[in-house]
């Protein structure tokens, strides 16, 4: 079943076409990786999908509904969740508060003000922290966490929103090898209940996780297919993998 599709999606920044007429379809339940050289428009493309920025042209459909002009906080309500690169946790708040912010957003949406009952909020937050293994650090300030833990916190905040589509922007950047292994395991368990869209530079992570890969170059989709197909694709090799 089709979860997300874009048609002719474009975004210009002062004459530069960062995303140039992208037609893209994402099936429910898959893990999709978007790869491409720097400046290919990957980040801009997912920013358009989650609503951080608006498109210059084209449209976006989610579960059959046109969301092109919908503000980002309402897209979160539909289940489109974006996890940032590292700089976007609340560094001056505790881990608990970081995740609680995501949890209460979801509870408020699903149950109204009654959803914000103190104990329910607390239990839900703690169980999400447990999911990524950060529960012993719940009172620690997020800014003082080790880098890998900050990454996990970011993922926990995404998970707490119960995403249907989880967009992760370079999630393994700066992680140690052992942490990457752990991250892949976590992503696979997330994918059991959500569709995952991943921007990733680490090719071994991409090859291991992705069901399908979309290759972008100069704002357009260059190729799309299974990891094996992409590996064999001559255009991709020329543009990205280095012939």
């Amino acid at each position: 079943m089709k979860l997300l599709s874009t048609s002719g999606l474009a975004r210009e920044f002062g004459g530069i076409k960062a995303v140039d007429g992208v037609n893209f379809t994402l099936e429910q339940g898959e893990i999709r990786a978007i790869i491409g050289p720097n400046g290919a428009g990957k980040s801009t493309f997912v920013s358009l999908v989650c609503g951080r920025i608006g498109p210059s042209a084209g449209s976006i459909e989610f579960e059959g509904r046109d969301i092109t002009t919908m503000p980002p906080w309402r897209r979160v309500g539909l289940g489109i969740v974006y996890t940032f690169q590292i700089t976007s946790i609340f560094k001056n708040l505790s881990c608990f508060d970081n995740v609680a912010l995501a949890v209460q957003s979801k509870l408020l949406r699903e149950h109204g003000l009654r959803g914000l009952h103190h104990r329910r909020l607390r239990e839900s937050t703690m169980s999400t922290l447990e999911l990524v293994g950060l529960h012993p650090l719940s009172h620690t300030h997020a800014g003082t966490l080790a880098y890998g833990h900050q990454r996990l916190l970011e993922v926990a905040m995404g998970l707490a929103l119960s995403p249907k589509l989880l967009i992760m922007d370079e999630p393994t950047q700066g992680l140690a090898d052992s942490e990457i292994v752990e991250f892949c395991r976590l992503t696979r368990s997330i994918a059991e209940s959500a569709t995952v869209l991943l921007i990733e530079h680490n090719m071994s992570v991409v090859m291991e996780l992705a069901d399908r890969i979309t290759v972008m170059n100069a704002g357009s989709v260059l190729a799309e297919g299974t990891p094996q197909e992409i590996r064999r694709n001559a255009d991709v090799q020329a543009a990205y993998l280095g012939a």
């Binding site: 906080w73 979160v76 609340f90 708040l93 505790s94 609680a100 995501a102 209460q104």
Partner: protein, 320 residues
């Protein structure tokens, strides 16, 4: 905002309020009146701090909300003969209502533009007060009759002219604002406001319509300013345009900066210090603002996070 420090927190704040209550029995008459004013101004500053300290919105026009309470309560009591309790309530609603109206426009901007737009609204309010001179009596102001400041409870009469009544009512208003702030900080709403201060972009992508939350913060802040303004009118019997002037928008910013932006008791500390600084300096010279200015330069150099903020950084990290 972690939930470990409930006990010391309660001890500190209830202790502080108890101290303020006991203070009235030892203060000489002159300082007794000063403290009454200070507590009301601190309530105003506490509301301001919700906006600037916890939501990250710097308004340069907060005097208009104070004045809305002042005029709302004062004119209703004087002209319509509304009893003081109802007038106070009306004053609070005027503060919150004006905040809602101004916020719907001003909150479409952020940062420096927000400062300018709020400043502009406040100046417009000030000029409106002067323009409608027939009702507001402009610069000269309205003196409220003593009869309009008396609340008949049936079994007793609460006279707002009486120092003891004034002091305890001011304390009650300040306590309500302080405890309201503390409750807000421990609530899910407070958490969202702090998140907006720290990183609005991230808050948006957690599913929060930050415009609505900022508007809520502005209304709460406006209501607190309105309550302080209304009490000022009813207790001291004077309603004048000075209170709507830019001076009172800047003063409240200074009180909060001095005490500590984003600290619960900072506004009170800042208001007391600044009040007595001006008081002491003006004993020696008519250009007391020189001393105030010098003091502020020193503050920025050595205590950029305010007095309570400095304490929190060094010794008591659990201060809210």
């Amino acid at each position: 905002m972690t939930r470990d420090n409930t006990k010391p927190l309660l001890l500190l704040h209830v202790g502080l309020l108890l101290g303020l209550f006991l203070l009235q029995f030892v203060l000489p008459a002159y300082h007794h009146t000063n403290m009454t004013r200070i507590m009301l101004l601190a309530a105003y500053a506490t509301g301001y701090n919700i906006l600037v300290g916890y939501t990250g919105l710097l308004s340069l026009g907060h005097a208009m909300f104070f004045a809305a309470g002042l005029y709302g309560a004062g004119m209703a009591a004087q002209y319509i003969g509304l009893n003081p309790a109802a007038a106070l309530l009306l004053g609070i609603m005027c503060g919150a209502g004006l905040a809602l109206a101004a916020g719907l426009v001003a909150l479409r901007t952020a940062g420096v533009s927000f400062m300018i737009v709020t400043l502009m609204f406040a100046q417009a309010s000030y000029l409106l007060i002067l323009y409608f001179n027939d009702y507001t009596r402009g610069d000269e102001g309205i003196l409220l009759s003593e009869s309009s400041r008396r609340l008949d409870l049936g079994w007793a009469t609460l006279d707002f002219v009486q120092p003891t009544v004034r002091y305890n009512l001011a304390l009650l208003v300040f306590a309500a604002c302080l405890l309201g702030l503390l409750a807000l900080l421990r609530s899910p709403l407070g958490r969202v406001l702090v998140a907006i201060r720290e990183n609005p972009e991230r808050a948006k992508l957690l599913g929060y319509d930050i415009f609505r939350y900022k508007l809520m913060a502005l209304c709460i802040s406006g209501a607190m300013a309105g309550s302080a303004g209304a009490c000022f009118a009813l207790m001291f019997g004077y309603v004048g345009a000075t209170y709507a002037s830019i001076q009172y928008s800047i003063l409240v910013l200074l009180w909060v900066l001095l005490g500590g932006v984003g600290t619960a008791i900072g506004p009170l500390v800042g208001t007391v210090l600044m009040f007595y600084l001006v008081e002491t300096a003006s004993d020696y010279t008519s250009s007391y603002n020189l001393f105030v200015g010098l003091f502020l330069v020193l503050l920025v150099l050595f205590f950029p996070r305010g007095i309570v903020g400095w304490l929190r950084d060094r010794a008591v990290p659990w201060l809210p």
